[in-house]
Amino acid sequence: MTVVERREIALVDLLDRLLAGGVVITGDITLRIADVDLVRIDLNALISSVNEQVPSPWPDSGPMPSSRMELE
């Protein structure tokens, strides 16, 4: 079992979980932020802005294509 290497987590995997997962609680402050649709919209804006600055969307993208297994 050497295929799965632990490297830095890809931001996109993190956002899948942090923005779409986790318990939604209407905190004192973030009533509207907790709304999934709103977060989706924010993320869409992000994606389009990222697309404009291909190839390196964020500075710390070093080993980011994370743990991949090649299927031959």
Partner: protein
């Protein structure tokens, strides 16, 4: 260091009381160590954050700043990751903020029944992420599309290369101009090959998902990832999360690993985790909706 109005409470997770202490050098959002706030048998992991960043308005602006979002998400995950090594926490949505400790206590009080229910459900489990990527079917045979692949969407490649086809086809092979009929036949062949590639890829993803689901307590399909965000070539055709008992995790990983031996040209399987049960904190089963069918 009394709590003032310009300091808010960021809550990372709710969990059972910890048996083991968290690492002393663990820091969360803003570089501040999280602390435990106990209320009637439940623990909230909280940290102070400045109102100038986490009040509603600045927070909304920050969420559109990729650097800020990235840093905050990593800090959040750092705490959740550390917590996951000592318990099975219930992670909260990114940027759940309260005015003060009493707001956090009220949250624990009001949500107690729901928290216990979900904590019981995810007890002893971790989440594994599995993604399947498919390289562009005409990646090697049709290098024309690489010229206009600047905006990430591979779906548009197919359409846009249709439009500019006559110009490029002529430019590539000037000594052998394609007749309109030849061109159409060529495109039809390519499309058929693409369709078959898709069918194979979808069948593979479906089979994998079904098999992994059988070895998991629960499963969720996330929306396919945008390939330019994931920095992964090709198209994301499966983006799934599986809730797996820790005791069966090794087996689960081996199962994913074994797909390597299958004959699946052009497909890449990626495993992430173990995560806290981020994708399994809903009260009821919400369908991730149509992952793997993103055409």
């Amino acid at each position: 260091m009394s709590a003032t109005s310009d300091e808010l409470r960021y809550v990372y997770a709710v969990c059972r009381p910890l048996d083991a202490p968290l690492a002393a050098d663990l820091t969360g959002v803003g570089g501040v160590p999280p602390r435990q706030l106990n209320h009637e048998g439940l623990v909230a992991l909280v940290g102070p954050v400045p109102a100038r960043d986490f009040a509603e308005e600045p927070l909304r602006a920050h969420l559109e700043d990729l650097d800020w979002l990235s840093e905050t998400a990593r800090a959040h995950q750092r705490v959740i990751g550390a917590l996951t090594s000592v318990t099975c926490p219930l992670p909260l949505r990114l940027a759940t903020v309260f005015r003060d400790d009493s707001g956090v206590r009220a949250m624990l009080q009001d949500g107690a029944e729901r928290f216990w229910r979900i904590l019981d459900r995810i007890d002893g489990c971790v989440e594994w992420g599995v993604k399947v990527h498919m390289e562009s079917p005409d990646h090697s045979s049709d290098n024309r599309s690489s010229d206009n692949r600047t905006s990430g969407g591979h779906s548009s490649d197919i359409r846009s290369s249709d439009k500019q086809s006559s110009a490029t086809a002529g430019g590539e092979a000037p000594e052998k101009p394609l007749s309109g009929r030849d061109y159409l036949r060529l495109r039809r062949q390519q499309r058929t090959a693409q369709d078959e590639g898709w069918k194979r890829a979808e069948a593979f993803a479906q089979r994998l998902h079904e098999e992994l689901s059988r070895h998991a307590d629960d499963a969720r399909l996330h929306a396919p990832q945008n390939s330019s965000l994931s920095d992964t070539p090709g198209r994301n055709i499966l983006n799934a999360a599986y809730l797996v008992p820790r005791a069966h995790s090794e087996e689960f990983v081996e199962l994913v690993d074994a797909t390597k031996d299958e004959d699946a040209a052009g497909l890449t399987v990626e495993l992430t985790g173990p995560w806290a049960a981020y994708s399994f904190t809903g009260d009821d089963v919400e369908s991730g909706g149509g992952a793997g069918r993103s055409r």
